[in-house]
């Protein structure tokens, strides 16, 4: 072998080996090496939409309160990739390798890092050291409530693994909902919709033209825009529709074939197939066919990214008035649309009009049901008590309703499809500084911190859901009203679903179509509109028929292929 060839080969090998080592790295993370100081906790955070200003402020307060003890916080360079599988694999490297005491991230469930996960227990159980202790305020004193009491048992279930161990710490509350460009909506003289019928009425007027503004094809302003392909925003809307229809049945539906204790039960084939008869699904599908009718969406909705969709909501070219999104959107558009942030508002998803019919249908016609529904939603949003709602309906509408009726509507309005439970923090297994990390997390559950998070991240702390009255943005103020409402409850598919159908979601429960919004938008021909901005003469029955036919075909496919499903899906 020639010397020059050998030298080149050696160099190439060294490069290859170096490249391989670099690719395998990641344990150390950014921001230099993790300190070995026994009194300094090392925190690694995913920046995401909330930024990290809140963490820097919390660090300052924590270090100030525990100055005598000498406790400090080292924040490693925020890394967007630290989430889901990446986080899981970094946790699996072990504390000795990473030196990180606390990960503040998202997308890894407690079961994944617990005994039943692929790597065994990777994190510390924080039930006793954090959740059963009282929150610590910025002056170092304990608050009156424990962290557990502040979070609530509903959310705590998402922080718990399948064996009942509480591993995760919830660090943000976020809700999916409807983002409205109020500047554009005002031009049409329309109000923000509170029921799905009101929303579709807005869609209809915007698309066909209203208040002196021509139809969408001529004006360039369309009712709605969405993100193409398998994006989750549209699915969040559909989840919310299902939960609104019957929030009490949400868990029962998604934990099908599972007892309350999480044990799997074997139901008959017929019972399994009956899942598709649930009225929750049918009502959701009816709305899906209408909401994702591609005629009323902005051009490009079937082939655009989240940034492009948000640009259409904010901008004025091939633009939209509404978008299914979340309370995180303002942070995402803040940089590029600093001057236009007052144009947008955030509200919970409009309540399924079928809820009104379900509650009042035995006494009133459909139009009156929706009128009552809308009226009660206003009162719920104003945080009125059930008694106040009942009497207001009687006095102002001249209609008699029961407290149960009012509560049913209040629960439907209060339910939110939350992305909050996905925002989890974990204390690394084997850390010698669990006590200090626990103090840090207890301070993170304080009301003081809630104000910090609200001010610096435009978000809501899950431990301190209060209405934000100081934000300069209407969007943030109204978004904060949702979790602060007395009827607020959240549903999520994060980690809490267990049992035979434990991994069922809206993207796999239907066997022939994996993503309902994309399927409807790209393949459905059911429409009451033409492509030129007018109505085509059909009635809304076309959407209902399409939904029914879809479910009939789906059930037929399930029956036809039941043996096949069973052979590929039956768990060990």
């Amino acid at each position: 072998m020639k010397k020059s060839t050998k030298t080149i080969s050696m160099l190439m090998s060294a490069l290859l080996a170096f490249g391989g080592l670099t690719a395998c790295g990641g344990g150390g993370g950014g921001g230099g090496a993790a300190t070995k100081d026994p009194k300094t906790i090392v925190v690694k955070v995913r920046r995401a939409g909330f930024g990290t200003d809140w963490l820097s402020e919390l660090k300052g307060k924590f270090e100030s309160v525990y100055a005598n003890e000498g406790y400090k916080v080292q924040i490693m360079t925020p890394d967007n990739s630290i989430q889901a599988d990446v986080l899981l694999k970094e946790l699996a490297l072990g504390y000795e390798t990473t030196g990180v005491d606390l990960y503040i991230s998202s997308g890894v469930t407690p079961t994944q890092v617990g005994e039943l996960g692929d790597y065994g227990v990777l994190v510390e159980d924080i039930e006793e050291s954090v959740y059963n202790q009282k929150a610590i305020s910025y002056n170092g004193t304990e608050e009156s409530k424990t962290v557990r009491e502040k979070l609530g048992e509903d959310v705590l279930s998402y922080m718990t693994d399948a064996n009942g161990k509480i591993y995760a710490y919830n660090w943000a509350q976020t809700s999916a909902g409807l983002v409205v460009n109020t500047r554009k909506l005002a031009k049409y003289g329309l109000d923000i919709p509170k029921t799905t019928n009101e929303m579709f009425d807005c869609f209809d007027k915007i698309y066909c033209g209203y208040n002196g503004i021509p139809n969408s094809v001529e004006s360039g302003t369309y009712p709605i825009t969405y993100i193409s392909g398998g994006n989750g925003y549209g699915v969040c809307f559909l989840y919310a529709m299902m939960a609104q229809y019957s929030v009490d049945d949400w868990n029962t539906f998604w934990t099908f074939q599972t007892t309350e204790d999480g044990e799997t039960v074997n139901l008959s084939d017929a019972a399994c197939q009956e899942l598709y008869d649930d009225p929750m699904l049918e009502e959701m599908m009816k709305v899906a066919y209408r909401a994702f009718d591609n005629n009323i969406a902005t051009p490009g909705s079937l082939s655009q990214s989240v940034d492009q969709a948000q640009a259409k909501l904010m901008g004025d070219t091939d633009d939209a008035v509404f978008m299914f999104n979340g309370d995180w959107m303002l942070n995402e558009v803040k940089l590029n649309y600093a001057e236009d942030l007052d144009d947008i508002d955030f509200v919970n998803f409009p309540v399924l009009s079928a809820v009104g019919t379900k509650v009042f249908g035995d006494r009133y016609d459909e139009a009156t049901c929706d009128e009552l529904l809308s009226f009660i939603i206003d009162l719920v949003d104003e945080n009125k008590s059930i008694e106040e709602i009942v009497s207001a309906v009687e006095e102002e509408m001249g209609k008699e309703i029961t407290e149960d009726d009012a509560m049913a509507i209040a629960k439907s309005r209060g339910v939110t499809y939350a992305r909050g439970p996905e925002h989890v923090a974990y204390v690394t297994k084997g850390t010698s500084k669990k006590d200090i990390v626990s103090l840090f997390l207890r301070m993170m559950a304080s009301d003081d911190y809630g104000a910090t998070f609200s001010r610096t991240a435009n978000g809501t702390s899950p431990y301190c859901a209060v209405e934000n009255t100081t934000s300069p943005y209407t969007f943030v103020k109204n978004a904060s009203k949702i979790p602060a409402n007395r009827y607020y409850s959240q549903v999520s598919t994060f980690g809490g679903l267990k049992g035979y159908r434990g991994k069922s979601t809206l993207t796999n429960i239907f066997t022939t179509e994996s993503h309902i919004p994309d399927y409807v938008a790209s393949k459905s021909t059911a429409s009451i509109y033409t492509a030129t901005g007018t109505r085509n003469g059909n009635t809304i029955a076309v959407y209902e028929t399409a939904a029914k036919n879809f479910l009939v075909a789906e059930k037929a496919n399930v029956k036809k292929n039941w043996a096949d499903y069973f052979s590929v899906t039956r768990s060990k």
């Binding site: 051009p299 994996s514 052979s567």
Partner: protein
Amino acid sequence: MKLFDNIKKNYSRLERRDFLFAYLIVLFPVLQFLIFWFYVNISSIGLAFQDATGGLTFKNFEMVWKGFTDKDMLGVNLLDSLGRSFLLWIIGEGVLFPITLITTYVLTKKIAGHYVFRIIYYVPGLMGSIIWTLLIKEMVGYSGPITKLLVGMNVNLPTAVTKNGLLRSEDTAFVTLILVRSVMGVVGNNAVLTGAYTRVPDELFESAELDGAGFFTQMFGIAIPCIWSTICTLLTFALCSVFTCDYNVWLFTDGTGGYGTSTIGFQLYNLTYRLSTGIGSTGYGYPAALGVVLTVMTLPVVLVGKHLLEKASENVEV
């Protein structure tokens, strides 16, 4: 130990060090091959005969049969996807490859501006496929230059195209995919063929020129026979790739494979993805069985094709 003694006796210290170096440098790819090819393939063959509980079953193959003859349990017709893959392959190897042969030859003859053309040829090859796909996707989007150009030329496009682009209409999506594939395919083997062409001695062309051979006579009579072994290798690889190339359908269609674009390569990925994230998360058997079936279909084609290609070639020593 006797082996080591023999080596010590027959080779000098320097030669032994060279051998050791050579073996160590080969070790890494061999290990890679064993883990990422051998183990993965053996494992997937095993999966094809397993149900979700690990028991022996032929159910997965029944599902593949159903997928080809009717629709599988996920509502997918595999025959449609297979047909599209085959059509794309025919176009790629039957039309585009000969065009590449000619264009690359023309460029190696150093026509005026050949450096510029060569760079234009190479740039797409240097770009990552994701960047390339995103660029194309934007170009054929509803507000992209190609769609705008077609509209400007008064081409009667379906409404779905003017609203969401050429890749979002059943009428135009697959045709667009073919055209996109054509643009990308023409530059595909340029680097390899350029290398092969430049190894053909200039004397052969000079001598042919003196005998009065024209440009294309030189190409078909001298250049192509001289690089025939390279062509055979490329075509053999192409035979293997008929079912595995998905032509970036996942990226072009945001993971849906809709609008009549799904290829069998896309479906293999799509089925694995849907079943792995689906109810129970244990359903790799069906896509594994599909992989085995496609291998069985491809194997005789590759073996016979390779044999014929070798037979057709005359080993030209240059």
